[in-house]
Every structure is written in structure tokens, then in C-alpha cells.
């Protein structure tokens, strides 16, 4: 009997620990969800228990968000910026990763570590000079400035990930294609790329999510509402002075976070093996 009791206590304290941790992590998201669907009268009421609906849920906040704000525009800006950055990243990082993987000796490895280290250079160090560069390019207050600047952090990371992958592709496969009459580029495109679809998919997801998450450069370069990506638009334009539109704000935050969170979760393990330099497989 005492052993059974001990086991029950052990089990329940285990679950208690798991639940506490999950609640700490996820409560803000639950709060976003419930705020989105509460009526204003229910939201701004100090008397009732705030954890659940005290009045019937409403779609009013979402309706306002989609009909009377630029939310849809921000979402499509973010998507467009993300797609362009992904395209630039692939164009630059695919050949670079391949070139580095096939460099003789250790020079490729060393060079790629050099490129990877620029991933550590934070926007906070560069936003002032880059604001000037953006002006010189005539892109001030335009989302195209972000398309130009975001690859500075996606290219280093993705080149690193791709190099690691290309190293695992046996050289003999390309050599066979070259013997059969392909050029070096032809062999890369026809034999290596088709084998690399999983790696390319990972890079696409990461470049896209890293881009959607960015806030500092957007905040620095863009002031017109219609040019903002969703992270910036929601954080700055749904707050007017001291008046917060909490229902709309939380709805917008929730809708734009969910897809990013799902994508990130699916590819998390690859991301981790990327930053630990393949120390974990």
C-alpha cells in the first residue's frame, strides 16, 4: 500500500509539473484566443471571472479587423516580402552551399563558419547605418527595403544548413552525370537538387518564418501603414494613443502567429541541428 501511494504521489506531481509548465508557456495564447471572441462589455468588466465568457462570444472584433483595418494588406505584405526573401535566399544560398561543400580541404568549412558567424550580427547593431543605405537605394518607407535587407540574416543561416546537407550527397553521383556529358552546373541542377528537396524545403520554411518574425528593421525603415508587414502593423497601428483595441489586437496577433508556430514546430529538429552545427542528429 505505501508503495502504491508513493507511486500515485509521484505520478500526480509529475503531471502537476507538466501542466504548470504548459500553462506558463501557453497561457498568453489562450488569452489571445479568448480576448478575440469576447464582447467589449465582457472584456472591460472587473467584476466577472475573466477566464471564460460571461457574455456570448462575438465575431465583431474579427469583422472590424478584416473590414476596417489594413490587416489583410499587412498579411499580404508579409507574404510577399517572405516569398521574395525566400527566392533571393535560395538563389544565393544554394550555389554557395554547394560550392562550399565541394571546396577542397578545410577551406570550405572555414569559409562557411565565417559566413555563419554573420548570423550573430544583430539588427540592433546595423539598423542605423542600414537606414542610410536604404535611403541611398531610394527605398525609404517601402517594404522593398525589407526584401533587400532580410536576406542578410537568411543567407548565412541557410548557406550553413545547405552546406551540411550537400556534404552528405556523394560526389560520385555528380561525377557520373559529368561523365555522361553534363556540365558542372547541369550536374548540380539535374542530380544534386532533386536529392536535396527535404533540405530545400527546410530552408524555405526557415527563411520564411525568420522573415515574418522580424520586427526591428521593419520598425526602423517603414512608417506608412500600407507598406507595413503584419508584425509591425499590428503592433503599431492598432494602438492609437492610449486607446487599445484589445479584441482586434489579440485576434490579429493570434491569426498571424498560428501558421508560423505550426511551420516552426514541424521543422524544429532541423533548426536545432543547424545551430548546434550538426553536433546533434
Amino acid at each position: 500500500m505505501p508503495r502504491l501511494a508513493g507511486k500515485v504521489v509521484g505520478q500526480s506531481s509529475f503531471y502537476a509539473a507538466v501542466v504548470t509548465m504548459v500553462v506558463f508557456a501557453a497561457f498568453p495564447f489562450y488569452w489571445m484566443l479568448i480576448t478575440t471572441f469576447k464582447t467589449d462589455g465582457d472584456l472591460y468588466n472587473l467584476k466577472s471571472i475573466p477566464y471564460w465568457f460571461n457574455a456570448p462570444p462575438t465575431l465583431e472584433h474579427l469583422k472590424y479587423l478584416f473590414d476596417d483595418t489594413l490587416f489583410v494588406q499587412w498579411l499580404s505584405n508579409s507574404a510577399l516580402i517572405g516569398l521574395c526573401v525566400v527566392a533571393i535566399t535560395l538563389l544565393v544560398a544554394l550555389p554557395a552551399g554547394y560550392g562550399l561543400a565541394r571546396m577542397p580541404g578545410r577551406s570550405g568549412e572555414n569559409l562557411s563558419i565565417g559566413i555563419f558567424l554573420t548570423y550573430l550580427v544583430p539588427p540592433t547593431l546595423l539598423f542605423l547605418p542600414l537606414a542610410r543605405v536604404v535611403t541611398l537605394l531610394g527605398l525609404q518607407d517601402s517594404m522593398w527595403a525589407l526584401v533587400v535587407v532580410y536576406p542578410t540574416f537568411t543567407i548565412p543561416f541557410c548557406t550553413w544548413l545547405l552546406m551540411g546537407f550537400f556534404k552528405s550527397v556523394p560526389r560520385e553521383i555528380e561525377e557520373a552525370a559529368i561523365v555522361d556529358g553534363c556540365t558542372v552546373v547541369g550536374a548540380f541542377v539535374k542530380t544534386v537538387l532533386p536529392l536535396s528537396v527535404p533540405a530545400i524545403l527546410t530552408v524555405v520554411i526557415f527563411a520564411f518564418t525568420l522573415t515574418v518574425q522580424e520586427f526591428v528593421y521593419a520598425l526602423t525603415f517603414i512608417s506608412s501603414s500600407s507598406e507595413k508587414p503584419v508584425t509591425l502593423g499590428v503592433a503599431t497601428d492598432l494602438i492609437r494613443g492610449d486607446i487599445f483595441y484589445w479584441g482586434e489586437l489579440m485576434g490579429a496577433a493570434l491569426i498571424s502567429s498560428v501558421p508560423v508556430a505550426i511551420a516552426y514546430n514541424l521543422f524544429l529538429d532541423r533548426f536545432i541541428s543547424g545551430i548546434t552545427g550538426g553536433a546533434v542528429k
Binding site: W246, M250, A261, N265
Partner: protein, 310 residues
């Protein structure tokens, strides 16, 4: 048959050697765009930042007059800056400690098999996965001066008096706590994931051997598992530190550095001075205080990346 094989082999060798020469020519061409991108948009702007910091450049007077180390002296002399530097360190260190502790506990919990484990992992990873600015907005709402759910809970639990609700973002000490909590909340899932990856990389036979030799729970933890996963944890700490140390979005959205600069961090102060007030030169000088610290991070990262190859 043998005649064909003999004649084909040298030819293939000659052809492939020829291609190797060509790959050596093409290799640098493949890599050049990436290097160029990084040099033009990271390297040159960094040099420009260096120059701004020793000039008198502001958006009202865009002159590149050289003023030496005057900006740095003025920045160091300012009370606000010293507070800012201290805050940045406090937030970074507290977030790392809480992140590592909760990360280790979380990973140990998730190593067990239990129903709903995958869902628990997905939920725990959320704070790290979603865009920081949007997640921080949820905390702004939870710390609201009047409708804070945290205060409601504390009042309902009888821990505080309804007439004296704490102003989480309006009182200096509480605002510090609020910022630190949000940073730790955002970072600990990263710790969980890293520790999980580390734990799964420890070979089971090593653990079994140690158990047979009489090593208990603590001994296995600290003399076997920890040394094996130390390099991975090191890399995680470097990344975590860089992310927290250089972050400005959490502070910008939660408190805007207030009340009265009490939660200002290097990033947010540089943004306020360099962009909002247009004093680019001083802003750049403030940003550059990040640099020696980043250099240390880079060196440590290089060392641990090298070590894993040996």
C-alpha cells in the same frame, strides 16, 4: 570486354580530373554572390556604424565631421546609459538562468513517455516559435493597468488589495520584473528543446553501464550526462545570450524603456536616440557597446564548433 574496361577507365579519370579543375574555377563563382551580399549589407554598414560613432552625424545636420571619441565619452558619462547597460546585463543573465533551469526541468519531463507528450511539447515551444512582437502584445494586455488578468487573479486569491493594484508596467521595480519575465518566458522553450536534443544524444549503453557500476540519479546527471551535452548547451547559451542581449522589441513594446528610462536596454536606447531623436552619431556609439560582447560570443562559438570536429 576487358579491352573496353581498360580503355574507359583512364578516360574517365582524365575527364573527371578535368571537371575537378573546372569545379575549382566554378566553386568561387558559386560562393561569390553570398559573400558579396554579406560584405555589402553587413560588412559595409558595420564600417559605416563605426564611422557614425566618431562623427557628429545627425539627421538635422548630416555632416561627417570627425569628433574622435567624444560621443563615447558623452555616452559613458550619462546616467541613463549606465543604467541601460546594467539593465541589459540583468535581463540577459536572468533570462539565461531561468531559461536553463526551466529548460532542463522541462526536457526531463518531456523525456518521459506520457499521453499527450507531443501536444505538451508543441505548446511549450510556442513562446519561442511565434513572432516576438505579437507574443509581447499579449503580455502588454496581461499587464494592463486596469484589466490585468494577473492582478485579477492576485486579488481573487486575496494576495493583494483591489484598491492597490500593482502597475506592472508603470512602477520601476515591477516593470523590470515584467521585462525579465517576458524574456525568460520567450527563451525557456529554446532551453527545453536544446536539452531534449542533448539528452537524446546520450548513448543508452553508457547510462546502463554507469547504473550497473552503481551510479545513482545525481551522479548520472552531473558526471555523465552533463559533460556529454555540455558543448550543445554552450552553443545554446551563446545564441540565447545574443538574442536577449541585442533584443529591443520586448522592451520597446512593453514599456518603451520607461517609466523614466528604468527598463531601457542598449537596443531600445539606441533606437530612441538614433532614430526617434535623430542623433545618429550617439545612437551608433551606444550600439557599438554591443560589439565587444558579440566578439566574445563569436570566439566562444568558434571554439565550440571546432571542438566538436576533433
Amino acid at each position: 570486354m576487358s579491352v573496353i574496361a581498360q580503355s574507359a577507365a583512364p578516360r574517365r579519370l582524365a575527364r573527371s580530373r578535368f571537371t575537378f579543375d573546372r569545379l575549382e574555377v566554378l566553386g568561387p563563382l558559386f560562393i561569390a554572390p553570398a559573400i558579396l551580399y554579406v560584405v555589402v549589407l553587413v560588412g559595409l554598414p558595420f564600417l559605416l556604424a563605426l564611422y557614425y560613432s566618431v562623427s557628429a552625424y545627425s539627421i538635422f545636420n548630416p555632416s561627417y565631421t570627425f569628433v574622435g571619441l567624444k560621443n563615447f565619452r558623452e555616452v559613458i558619462d550619462s546616467e541613463i546609459f549606465r543604467r541601460t547597460l546594467a539593465n541589459t546585463l540583468i535581463f540577459t543573465i536572468s533570462a539565461q538562468i531561468i531559461g536553463l533551469l526551466l529548460g532542463k526541468i522541462g526536457a526531463m519531463l518531456l523525456m518521459q513517455e506520457f499521453p499527450g507528450r507531443r501536444l505538451a511539447r508543441a505548446l511549450i515551444v510556442l513562446p519561442w516559435a511565434v513572432p516576438v512582437s505579437l507574443a509581447t502584445l499579449a503580455w502588454v494586455w496581461m499587464f494592463d493597468s486596469l484589466y490585468s488578468v494577473i492582478n485579477w487573479t492576485l486579488v481573487a486569491a486575496g494576495l493583494i488589495d483591489a484598491a492597490h493594484r500593482p502597475q506592472w508596467l508603470g512602477q520601476e521595480d515591477l516593470a523590470m520584473i515584467a521585462v525579465a519575465v517576458v524574456h525568460a518566458w520567450r527563451l525557456f522553450p529554446f532551453g527545453v528543446v536544446i536539452f531534449l536534443a542533448g539528452f537524446t544524444s546520450v548513448p543508452q549503453d553508457v547510462l546502463d553501464a554507469a547504473t550497473i557500476d552503481g551510479a545513482g540519479f545525481w551522479r548520472r546527471n552531473y558526471q555523465i550526462i552533463l559533460p556529454i551535452i555540455a558543448p550543445i548547451i554552450m552553443i545554446a547559451v551563446i545564441f540565447g545570450t545574443v538574442f536577449t542581449f541585442t533584443d529591443l522589441s520586448v522592451v520597446y513594446l512593453l514599456t518603451k524603456g520607461g517609466p523614466i528610462n528604468s527598463t531601457q536596454v542598449l537596443g531600445s536606447l539606441a533606437f530612441q536616440v538614433g532614430i526617434l531623436s535623430g542623433d545618429v552619431a550617439h545612437g551608433a556609439a551606444i550600439c557599438l557597446f554591443l560589439f565587444p560582447f558579440l566578439l566574445v560570443a563569436v570566439i566562444l562559438l568558434l571554439r565550440s564548433l571546432r571542438r566538436r570536429e576533433i
